[in-house]
Subunit: 100 residues, 3 copies
């Protein structure tokens, strides 16, 4: 089966940021995302119960260029103000040409 | 700690497909799966609100051979008809011999 | 964008184990975790409906040393008694220095 190598960027943030994050991700070039509800405690020691509405876990499959764009926007607009966690990994995507 | 390298296949699809997907995954040789509820928008531009019941995010830990089998069945039976996203990555599994 | 390579450990277990697992993860040196609700069937053939309250899917970003520590505690205290699944992958973390 032919697959396409892409970056999977996973972002965990307060649920209230979901709409804003999704708009920013789309503006950065992301063409599809998956959102699930989560809860947790970040390394800042903020407990889940302190965050109204819990967390969201957003996944986007993107090219290297869009991945860089996404990390830059997180660093500029979110990390200074919010308890956002983000990580990147390389995955093989079926029908990956849809995302390029 | 001894780990076993396996493929983690993640499939995001409409929730109504869950039972059928799980049956097909098991028939392809998958021995265990994790399902979570998700929502999102695919690159086809289908909005989450257009999908009754949202999405499911299914994860299966499989051998290389079963991974190929799973991707083939997705390509044949799901991709032509449904907004399904799937990606594969290599992970190290504790007690991975259970899945071989 | 500068990222830090870390291990992402994902643990899927019965929901009743969540508090105990989180305490053990923190004692092993994990500084932050993400928990989502999940369901599924493990390779032992235990059906989701047999587990009161379903499963939890816990993710922790940790150093190599803490990852080893976490796998050892799972092997010692959980695997002999519970249907726990765990896998490890290398990811690139933004602001990863928070976790070291």
């Amino acid at each position: 089966m032919k697959t396409v190598p892409l970056k999977l960027v996973t972002i965990v943030a307060e649920a209230v940021l979901e709409d804003r994050l999704v708009r920013d991700l789309e503006a950065a070039g992301a063409r599809g995302y998956t959102v699930s509800t989560a809860r947790g405690r970040g390394s800042r020691g903020v407990r889940a119960s302190d965050w109204e509405g819990g967390n969201v876990r957003i996944e986007v499959l993107v090219t290297d260029a869009v991945s860089d764009e996404v990390l830059h926007l997180l660093a500029e607009r979110y990390f200074p103000h919010y308890a956002v966690v983000a990580w990147v990994e390389r995955v093989e995507v079926v029908r990956g040409n849809k995302y390029v």
